[in-house]
Amino acid sequence: MQTHALKLVVVITEAALETLLVKDILALGAHGYTVADVRGGGRRGVREGTWEADRNIRLEVICHDTVADAIAEHVLQRYALNYSTTVFVSDIGVLRPEKF
């Protein structure tokens, strides 16, 4: 099967940022996104997700290389200093590249 190589950018961060992040990534050229509610822990401590100030989201974006770069850099620059933030990128394949 012929798949087309794209990037998957995953951002794990505070739930409070959801609206802002979605706006940002669409402005940076992504055409879609998926969000899940998660909990976790990292350098900035444990976020257990038992109440609003303590919940993380996991935002996942399928996009082209350049958009992926733009999103990853933007998120780190704009939010990573002050918010619990984790970003990673991986290689994926899709069947309908025109969609992303």
């Binding site: 409070a16 257990e48 038992t50 303590d54």
Partner: protein, 315 residues
């Protein structure tokens, strides 16, 4: 000191958490309970408001808003000077203490009801009035301190259309428009069950507050002192304001409690977006880990005594 069951539920949550029980309330339950409480407080206040002409209340409204604007301006220099906190943190904590805790208000009201102490029933109006100004002033201080511009439009939207304000004002408006008779079929859920739902919510608050205690060890003694002394001072300011605007001792006690209480719903949400440099652990540790339990257990009875001493009974 005999503790109200509502406080015992809080302590149960604290113990469960400190003993590392796996007890957790599902987040949807936490949210549902807080939606209920906000609406119920608003409805109750709105129904009472519908019994009064609005005109005579306007001077009180002015006084309460002034109180809200003033409190963070008192807190900020203390946090900077004595606490040696960075500007954003000081501004953020000031905003939390300028705003109010709806649950503390509910517990204080239940305290008065249990003792049969009369108070202005439209007090929930003041909860709404006090929730916003403190946050706005806190943000203003932070932005001015940082020299950056403030996007007031976005900010006002964030603050005025935050969940808690919308539910409180919405409840107030529905109660006010409907009046007591139309709301009678709603009263079995929103009024009769109120105190028990509050108890359940306090269990969750205990779990959450106890989770903040560890932070306190890190942030040291200042926040502990700040979180217990400032509420007492603010309570006196609130009670005196209450007296000045003509409230009964019960009403003045509630205004004192509101002043003494620190927000942990509206303020954290707003400050996280508006002043990202501020460390939310600090403000939550103080508001939730220190001041909330302090008010619930010690503050409320004390503020009641203060109000009884300072405010002449209504005639």
């Amino acid at each position: 000191m005999s503790l109200d069951p509502v406080v015992l539920f809080f302590l149960l949550g604290v113990f469960a958490r400190l003993l590392k029980s796996d007890l957790r309330l599902p987040e949807a339950m936490y949210e549902s309970l807080s939606i209920y409480l906000l609406l119920a407080i608003g409805l109750k206040g709105g129904v009472e408001l519908s019994k009064h002409p609005i005109g005579p209340l306007l001077p009180q409204v002015g006084g309460v808003v002034l109180l809200g604007l003033m409190l963070p301006l008192i807190a900020y220099p203390v946090l900077r000077g004595l606490g040696r906190l960075p500007k954003p943190d000081a501004a953020s904590i000031a905003a939390h203490y300028g705003s109010v805790s709806m649950v503390t208000f509910a517990v204080a009201t239940a305290f008065l009801v249990d003792r049969g102490v009369a108070h202005e029933e439209y007090m929930p109006l003041f909860v709404v009035l006090l929730e916003v100004p403190g946050i706005m002033v806190g943000i203003l201080i932070a932005k001015l301190g940082a020299g950056g511009g403030v996007r007031w439009g976005a900010l006002a939207h964030e603050v005025f259309l935050g969940r808690s304000i919308v539910l409180l004002t919405g409840g107030l408006a529905i109660g006010w428009i409907s009046g007591p008779e139309a709301l009678a079929p709603q009263s079995k859920l929103f009024f009769d069950l109120f105190k028990a739902v509050l108890a359940l919510f306090m269990l969750e608050m205990g779990l959450v507050a106890a989770g903040r205690i560890r932070e306190l060890r890190r942030t040291g003694a200042f926040l502990l002192a700040f979180g217990t002394i400032v509420p007492c001072v603010f309570a006196v300011i609130g009670v005196v304001t209450g007296r000045a605007i003509g409230l009964s001792p019960g009403g003045a006690m509630l205004l004192g409690t509101l002043a003494a209480s620190a927000s942990y719903i509206a303020a954290p949400a707003a400050m996280r977006i508006a002043v990202p440099e501020a460390n939310p652990s600090l403000s939550l540790a103080a508001a939730l880990g220190v001041t909330f339990p302090f008010n619930i257990v010690f503050g409320i009875p004390m503020y009641h005594r203060i109000a009884t001493a300072l405010v002449p009974p209504a005639t």
